[in-house]
Symmetry: C2
Subunit: 208 residues, 2 copies
């Protein structure tokens, strides 16, 4: 069995890995995500959403790779954001922001980008790093004002990228997607398999 | 709050409803699924996969709707199958069948059909029934013989329609989908919302 360390505090990423037969160890990234994000945006005024999540996924994985708990393991960093009408939408945090967002999202579509960075730290003297970003088109249902208010009242959309989940309470408000399904949850298992292949690791050796 | 009774023994459908904020009561359908399926196929030699799952979803909901536990509630029946190269694929049951299936599925695509039947039994003297089937295109990754063997050895594909899950161990072996994501798990939350609307029930009133 190959050990996997998840460098992310996202409960959705952890639950997804568990459901897929993997028992990841978790290390909260020491990278200051907000500061890194602001700095990246300042240094790259014409960046795409895809570039931003790739940068943050790399930073999260790299921030823990010096820790002894990762020696002998693969380290996985991930970051996600919604691209909508040219803007990058992260977590709304406030109820009034979430309500305004949903009034724009409903009946429209966006693209959920998830960045992945996998570092092979089985030999800590010579770590190897590979990265890949996946993008999935998401079509939002044309929900009513009452549904938006009921959804925001649950608190769920405030703390998630793009103000929605597909694997939680928001599931009924996504009409359809085109692309990898787990990318929308925040972590593509297919990409993890692909990156394992690049590192010469059998994906199935991650299974418990 | 509106009560929902799930007329299905599928743990995936139950887990999906729970994750979406709904606490369904569960009643195992008394309908003999295999007998009904065989009978339907005999009586309708030119049936589509979509027609078969619609018929079985209706039969499952109808089989419990006379039981007192459903009085005052909505009753939801569901059934799923994979359409692949003109054939309807259910559960493989045997390891050798699952291995042969995956050798055909890999690198190809199919359509997962999920039938839904919602019966409003809030007034048991006058139940109202609405139905809808949703269909999602599924693209399978071109996995290796070793991956097929490791996957079948987990036992998971033997007991699921089409020999794969997207929400379990098989998640990494689905490259992309086009359509409603939960249809692939066996139950579209968007369809449940739609059927609630047809019955004059607010979908959000199902939330705990």
């Amino acid at each position: 069995m190959t050990r996997l360390v998840l460098a992310s505090s996202s409960p959705a990423r952890y639950a997804l890995l568990k459901a897929s037969g993997i028992d990841p160890e978790v290390l909260i990234p020491t990278a200051d995500e907000q500061a890194l994000s602001d700095q990246f945006k300042t240094n790259n005024p014409n960046h795409t959403t895809s570039q931003l999540v790739a940068y943050l996924a790399d930073a999260k994985a790299e921030s823990v790779v010096g820790l002894q708990e990762t020696f002998g393991a693969l380290v996985l960093g991930g970051d996600s954001a919604l691209e909508f009408q040219g803007a990058t939408l992260g977590k709304p945090h406030l109820a009034e922001v979430a309500i305004e967002r949903w009034k724009q999202l409903r009946g429209n579509h966006g693209v959920l980008h998830s960045g992945h960075c996998l570092i092979d730290n089985r030999d800590p003297a010579a770590p190897k790093m590979v990265s890949k970003t996946s993008s999935t088109k998401v079509y939002f249902a044309n929900i009513t004002d009452a549904e938006i208010e009921a959804y925001v009242a649950t608190g769920e959309p405030l703390k998630v990228a793009g103000a929605f989940t597909i694997d939680g309470i928001g599931g009924a408000f996504i009409d359809r997607i085109e692309g990898d399904a787990h990318t929308v949850v925040g972590l593509s298992l297919g990409v993890v398999r692909d990156l394992c292949g690049q590192l010469g690791v059998e994906y199935t050796s991650l299974w418990r």
